[in-house]
Amino acid sequence: MLTIDSAIRDDIAAVVERHGAERTSLIPILQDIKKEHREITDEAMQVVADLLDIHPVEVYSVATFYAFLHGAPEGRFVVRLCGTLACDFAGKTAVAEALRTALGIEFGATTDDGVFTLEWASCVGMCDQGPAMLVNDKVLTRVTPAKVAEIVAEYRAKGADETRQDIVTARNELTYAGIEPDAGLKAALALSRGDIVDTVSAAALKGRGGAGFPTGMKWNFCAAEKSAHKYIICNADEGEPGTFKDRVILRDFPDLVFEGMTIGGRAIGADMGIVYLRAEYAYLRAHLNEVIQRRRQAGLLGKNVGGIAGFDFDIVLARGAGAYVCGEETALIESLEGFRGEPRNRPPFPAVAGFLNHPTTVNNVETLASVACIFAKGTDWFKSFGTDKSTGYKLFSISGDCEKPGVYEFPWGITVADLLKEVGGAGAKAVQIGGASGVCVPAADFARRLAFEDIPTGGSVMVIGAQRDLLDVAENFLEFFVEESCGQCNPCRLGNPKLLEGVELLKQGTCSAEHLADLKALGATMQVAAKCGLGQTSPSAFLSIVGAFADDVTTRPQRA
């Protein structure tokens, strides 16, 4: 039995009281403890467990699941260097070396004076401005080895986080900018709930989060359910490496997102909307909360929204804790309920039994913003963009070896070649489409189209220049999946390390043809046997690279 200092107990009791002694508050409670005490000790876990009336092992299992929560003591400033592909291309290795030297520690360690902790981050969503790193909640972009010493000295001298962020995202003209505020909401609230759903179906809007599920259909099933409570969740987890368009939408067009949530809430009959914002985007929180507050004051959230008697709907922000898998909708719901982000079995689908077992709709940020546009401008207008099967326009997160990385809007159906022309990506030998979980498309296929009927995608495009080694690309992604697998199912937990090992063998020129065939079969098995989308898509990049670039990747000279 642990003996617990009464001061600690009182401190933690105050945190628990602030959030409420509910299981759903567990992660916010742990986040605050981590922030205030820089570690979550066994004693703290014990006290939290007592107050929430759950077993301490439950607290331990949650605290150790999330990258931003794990128990070990941290320095006052936690430096998290982004390790993902675009930041790798931009020179993360040299920055990592500079950080090691400047701080005198390895990754995973804390300086003796307790000021700095150095860690890797999976992807901080700054792929167009890499190498990027977080220092606590702040983002620093285009970091160079030369800047590292300066940054470290500044933090040491000031002792507080006064650094200004320097996020500058290149982009083209976005349709969102021309949409009249709340015109969509007003138009939608004049319709019956059924007509709202049918309008979204008529626009043939498909989910922008990657899977492309028809939004109207998702709403239709959720709306058909009868329940005392329903929820609409905005998935702002945006953890897919190479994806950062939701960050731009949330920063510049949050009203459109909240409009879309309110319209969806009305349609499905929800009383609450929840924005699940990834931990890496903590710097967006204050602004988003201000916008929510402004909307409450304007009568656009709260009781009788928009003057409709009985339509009570509010929106709250929830924050992630650093786990890619929590972008998967059922893992996200588990996380909101205060559990490890482990995907659920389906059925039941969230539309029937989601958050706290109530019917729940989960939509991507961009999907919700698009809903607002559809109601503002009409379904015919929306369908005038894109193709028959992929209506509308899409935001693409473009990074890697091109002159103008950034967030670009194009109608669905644009060819890879045309897209590359727009961003100065001439000479690319391949593009990775759909993030780490997407596919690697070789230059020979650049006439293919970005559309649900050809190459479906959540919009991430990583340009891979002629100078790159595709095995490095595969390695980077597989390292990511090994790190981010929740470990629940065998195909994903065991398969990804095996594929990663295979890439190392290919690099050393020691992967036999038989072994490569086995690895391909393993990948194919993972695609069908893994429990959730993470494990099912994690072999895609590997399989497409060893498929399209077989001549290159299987002919490496043998290294000792």
Binding site: R193, D198, S201, M217, F221, A224, E225, S227, F349, V352
Partner: protein
Amino acid sequence: MSKILIVDDDPDIQEACRLVLEKEGFTVGCASNRAEGLRQVAEVKPDLLILDVMMEEPDDGLTMARELRRGGFTQPIIMLTSVNAAMGITIDRDDEMVPVEKFQSKPVEPATLVAQVNELLGL
């Protein structure tokens, strides 16, 4: 005698329902998808509709029920569905969104179907 239209993409269900209902003396027509169903409703003007949920699109029945009501169709609808098993959907439905008189999960006992039809037609 009353006219009943069955809209279901499963020919076996169409056939089974038809046999049961014809035996009771009803005139029975069938359609296999939403578009054909809408056309036949306009043409045949059925006194009662038996409607499947998952057809070409998994939510076709839900959309079609609203489409019909919007167009002024006031006759009773029995929604016959296996969506429960496929989606884990519960029978308890939101009446505004699913404007039907009965929501019946498949498979349905012939006697139950006949009883429901008679009840809705006031027979």
